[in-house]
């Protein structure tokens, strides 16, 4: 086992243990904190597999933005702890099916002889990766930006309260108007 192989196994152990802890914690806050550890390990794995730009993006987007958004929503809603094992039967069936899938996948990979050669180390510099991305994939990048815009509009639409935006309701409350009536503002 080479040095890089040992590093891979150590990172894999960290990812699997922290993810396994994340999906079994009782409190969602603990799950999110374990998941941040898992995403840091994934970023290390990306760097080991030759993607330094994506390792940085993994830390920034997944471990930073998405997990902070989860923590923010958990603190806003305060859902409280829920029992992980409400009934053993509810967990047994998915876990058994998951292990069947895992066993079949492992069997397929060990039967396939082409996967036996070891990966060589390589590193795609952010410069060459950016050139590649904007030379061959500029059109999907534009579509992804459109997707982010639609997601922004959808989140804003879902977040408004009963036909009014939150900012407007707060403004009316501050100005002494009633926030309960549904009529248009300014109608006396």
């Amino acid at each position: 086992m080479t040095l890089y192989g040992g590093i891979f196994y150590a990172i894999s152990a960290i990812i699997l243990i922290s993810t396994g802890a994340a999906i079994t914690r009782r409190s969602p806050v603990h799950s999110v904190v374990y998941l941040v550890v898992s995403f840091f390990g994934t970023a290390l794995l990306f760097y080991l597999l030759g993607a330094p730009l994506l390792a940085a993006l993994e830390v920034i987007i997944y471990a930073g933005a998405i997990m902070v958004l989860f923590l923010f929503i958990i603190m806003t809603l305060q859902p409280g702890s829920q029992p992980v094992l409400p009934a053993v039967l509810k967990w047994t069936f998915p876990i058994v099916m998951a292990f069947i899938c895992l066993g079949l996948g492992g069997l397929l990979m060990f039967v396939n002889a082409g996967m036996g050669s070891k990966l060589v180390t390589a590193m795609a510099s952010p410069l060459s990766f950016g050139h590649f991305l904007f030379e061959y994939y500029w059109y999907p990048i534009e579509i992804a930006s459109l997707l982010l815009f639609v997601g922004l509009v959808g989140a804003l639409y879902l977040g408004k309260i009963e036909g009014k935006f939150l900012v407007k309701r707060d403004y009316e409350k501050k100005m002494g108007g009633s926030s309960q009536d549904s009529g248009p503002p300014g109608k006396e």
Partner: protein, 101 residues
């Protein structure tokens, strides 16, 4: 020489199944969304391993799009959770049983 490509795929598969079990078996809507995030992350690991195996940058390019989809999905999903908590007062998936016969 790192490891055979099959072991990277095996790690990604185990992570994907962990996320699937979390999405299927947990009852809180927030934990279901976390399970989906774990599954998307596992797909990213598999794509980067494939990118190194075939020495092509297309796999890394796809991870960019997976990240964009994950960010959009978590934004809209959390907005939906807030909306349904406001409507029904609960984030437990078992409490949405109005149509139960």
């Amino acid at each position: 020489m790192i490891v055979p490509y099959g072991q990277v795929i095996l790690l990604a598969g185990i992570l994907f199944l962990m996320g699937a079990v979390c999405a299927v078996a947990r009852r809180s809507l927030i934990m279901i969304l976390i399970g989906v995030e774990i599954m998307l992350n596992a797909a990213g690991i598999a794509l980067i391993g494939a990118s190194l195996y075939w020495q092509a940058l297309d796999g890394q390019a796809f991870v960019i799009f997976v990240m964009a989809v994950a960010a959009t999905e978590v934004a809209v999903g959390l907005a939906l959770i807030v909306y349904s908590q406001r409507r029904s007062g609960s984030v437990n998936a078992d409490s949405y049983n109005i149509m139960k016969g």
